[in-house]
Structure formats: C-alpha cells, structure tokens
Amino acid sequence: MVPTSYFLVLSAVLFGLGVIAFIFKRNILTIFMSIELMLNAVNLAFVSFSRLLGQLQGQVFVFFVIVVAAAEAAVGLAIIILIHRNRGTLNVENVDSLKD
C-alpha cells in the first residue's frame, strides 16, 4: 500500500519542475509544454486526494482539467503559429515590443 504522501510529493516535484522549465526555457513551445506538465502534476494530486477521501469529485475535476487543457492548447498553439508567422521567431526574448 503506497502512502498518499508519496503521490503528493511526486505531484509537488513535477509541479516544481514545470515551474522551473517555465522560467528557464526560451522556446515558446517548450514553455507551453511546461504548462501542460504543471496541469498533469495537479491532476495527480486530485486523483490522490479523491482516492484518500473516497469521493469521486476529484476525478470529475480531473476530467474537466483535461478538457480545459485541450481547449487552451488549441487556442495557444494557434497564437504561437500567428507569432511565428508575424515575427519569424519562436524565442520569447525577441517578442518584447510591449516592453519599454
């Protein structure tokens, strides 16, 4: 029997790795994938708590998180395609025309 805290520590480690990837990487696609990694870590925490408390609401919420992640990925990737079409770069350091 695996204790619940093991799953939660794994979820926290994955979320932290997603945050680190979000901060350190420069390619916009990799930054987007780190967002998906963070969402997956949160899903693991939801399923772990749902199992611990014996309620199913956690898994229903995981279902909704996956659906919202799909919608967000579709629109976000369309925006990335537009950025590449208009700027020619995928480097977030070059997309800074709103900076002073």
């Binding site: 990694l37 609401q57 629109v75 995928l90």
Partner: protein, 167 residues
C-alpha cells in the same frame, strides 16, 4: 521487503521525474514533446495504480493521444529548431540553477512533512458507472459548459490560424 505496489510506484515515479527532467534539459522542442508524452503515459500508469481507470484511459486517449499530437504537429509545421546558445548570464547559470534545485527540494520536503500523517487509502477500483453518474447528475451544467468551451476554442483556433485569402 518492498511490496509489488511500492515497486511499481517507484518505477513509475522514477520514469515520470526522468521525463520531466528530460523536458527541461533537452534543447530541441521535439525531444521535449516526446519526454512529455513519456511523463503522461507514466502518470496514466500511476492513475491505474490508484484505481482510477477512466481517468487513466482519458489521459492516454485525450492528453497523450490528441493534445501532444497537436503539439508535435505544430512543432513540425513551424520547423522549430534547437534553442540557440545565447549568452546566458553567469548569474543565471551559477546562482539560478542551484536556487531552483533548492526550491524544488524545499517544496518536496514541506509537502512530504505536511502530508505524512495522511496514511494510505483502501485499494478499490472506481467504477466508470459511479463516475458517470456523478458527472451527468451533479456536474451536468459544467459538462455542458465545457462542450461549449471546446466549440469556442475550435472556432478561435480556426479563425486565428487561417491564412489570409487575397482576393
């Protein structure tokens, strides 16, 4: 004596963390995307270990099978190359990376300490019938809203990525 469940958990957790590290350390975004698929499949295995069959199936079919394929299509479409070696400041490399690792270790330690008394849950497989009863009775309104949300996202992505037609 490690039980079979603990052994499976340790193997899947190691694969997950290795995939996440590979996502950070790889330079080409296609390698990062494939590492993320490895993470998602290992997470589906962890959901199966906890008895969540429907979530594991949805994770593989929708997340790893549709969303990540969309990512890979966009990476191939945009012909994303390797990240070029820019002049990252010495401060970022020699202070930032150890601080990030320290942040990670501290978060893991405090989460572990705060939840160590929770114990383990009884091993039971969640039936899809119970999950769907909950989804279509109590959560029917958010369910319809998410179908609307997918429609909006579909239309938005179509309109955004469409090429301008010159008449």
């Amino acid at each position: 004596m490690i039980t079979a469940q603990m052994a499976i958990f340790l193997i899947l957790a190691a694969v997950t963390v290795a995939g996440a590290l590979s996502l950070i350390l790889q330079r080409h975004p296609i390698h990062s995307a494939l590492s993320l698929i490895v993470v998602m499949v290992a997470l589906a295995g962890l959901y199966l270990l906890q008895g969540a069959e429907f979530v594991a199936a949805v994770q593989i079919i929708v997340y790893a099978g549709a969303i990540m394929v969309l990512f890979i299509f966009v990476i191939m479409l945009l012909n994303a190359g390797e990240e070029e070696r820019t002049n990252v400041s010495r401060l970022a490399r020699f202070v930032g990376v150890p601080l990030a690792v320290a942040f990670l270790a501290e978060v893991a330690y405090w989460v572990g300490r705060a939840t160590s008394q929770l114990g383990s849950a009884p091993q039971e497989t969640v039936s899809t019938r119970d999950l769907s009863t909950l989804l279509f009775r109590e959560f029917v309104f958010p369910f319809e809203l998410t179908s609307f949300l997918i429609l909006i996202a579909l239309l938005g992505a179509l309109v955004l990525a469409r090429r301008e037609e010159s008449d």
